[in-house]
């Protein structure tokens, strides 16, 4: 419920390793709320979220360790440089094997390593936000409109990264207004906001 409005009920979804869920629906139907419930940032009014058969509120830190969330906000500090921002993201989670310069290189921000994040364009900031996915090691990626402000080339870049994550037996849950080209056998779609 949000402010006494029922958003959705009777949802039952199962995701296996290597699968991806795309949540679709009109604005205001509760896509963001659902994603936030899956991350544990928001409490559901009823029901539970299970990760490997265990409720996530019981797992706490162990669950968060395996989740990477990129929401509407970039989660990027404007006064810190790109590298400093990534170092922080690493400190909060499980560091991946990649060197941070490599990470920046993969998202085409190598030249901006020491630049203050505040002086980046919206698209660059979004790439930095998504770079977190490479800087830390997480099985589950929960992404809310990841392609906002990105140009076509960047979108293709990240679609590629999503595929790699699925190949690694990771799981992705995302919402997007854009069309993503992905192997359909790994894809599940969930449509919210349809009248009962």
């Amino acid at each position: 419920m949000r402010n006494d409005r029922l958003l959705f009920e009777h949802l039952d979804i199962n995701l296996d390793a290597g699968q991806m869920l795309v949540v679709e629906g009109p604005n205001g139907c509760g896509k963001t709320s659902l994603l936030r419930i899956l991350t544990g940032l928001r409490l559901a009014d009823g029901g539970e979220v299970l990760w490997r058969q265990q409720p996530i509120d019981r797992l706490a830190g162990d669950y968060f360790e395996q989740v990477n969330y990129v929401g509407h906000h970039d989660g990027v500090k404007h006064e810190l440089s790109c590298l400093e921002n990534l170092r922080l993201a690493r400190a909060m989670g499980v560091p991946s094997g990649l060197d941070l310069d490599e990470v920046l290189e993969q998202v085409n921000l190598y030249a901006y390593g020491e630049t203050e994040a505040g002086s980046l364009s919206a698209g660059q900031k979004r790439r930095l936000a998504l770079a977190r996915l490479l800087a830390t090691d997480a099985m589950l990626w929960i992404l809310d409109e990841p392609f906002t402000s990105l140009d076509k080339a960047s979108m293709a870049l990240f679609s590629g990264l999503f595929e790699q994550q699925l190949e690694r037996q990771g799981v992705i849950v995302m919402t997007s207004h854009h069309d993503i080209s992905l192997p359909t056998q790994a894809l599940q779609r969930l449509r919210l906001g349809v009248a009962a």
């Binding site: 419920m1 949000r2 402010n3 006494d4 029922l6 409490l43 009014d45």
Partner: protein
Amino acid sequence: MFLWFHKLGSPPHFYRIAGKWIPWLTWITVLLLLAGLYGGLIEAPPDYQQGESYRIIFVHVPSAWMSLFIYVVMAVCGAIIIIWRMKLAEVVLISSAPIGASFTFLALVTGSLWGKPMWGTYWVWDARLTSELILLFLYLGVIGLHNAIDDKRTAARAVAILALVGVVNIPIIHYSVEWWHSLHQGPTVTKFDKPSIHWSMLLPLLLMALAFQFYYVLALFHRCRAELLRRERNSKWVEEL
């Protein structure tokens, strides 16, 4: 036993049960109030030191007790909300706050009116009065915070935390008259040995305390029912009423 508790926690069930009890509670409250006031204002002898003006304790002391009691109830609800997210606890907490605030205000005002003839001043900044005033602000804070948050279930979590944080103030208020010797008189009723107050004054005091307790439950039931209707207005059981 747990089944009864679980049933009680269900909003429509509570709504019905509370509704049935309200007339009884009203009668009991009125009777106790009349008995207490009669005992306190007419039967009890005048105090040898203070004469007639002491009689305000029959309102002052029970309201002070209620102000502490209700806050503890809110803190317990707060714990229940955080651990189990029980809807009824949310409703009881927020319905109790205005009642508790009123009792606190009443205690402060009656104490102040008593203070003038007894100590020569309406107010003094000793530990007990100051912490009782803090209690009033805590109540107002709970009401204010709850109003400020739109989503009422989130608001319940917020005030639950606030109530629990503020509960530290309660032992300070209670024990302040023992820890600091100042203007407010020491404990006379809640000491562990025999209370140092005469029975003819103690009885009306206890009657008034009981009356105020019943009044709290009565007012609580009224408010809870109204709050439940407001919160669950879209649910089936409310539509069927």
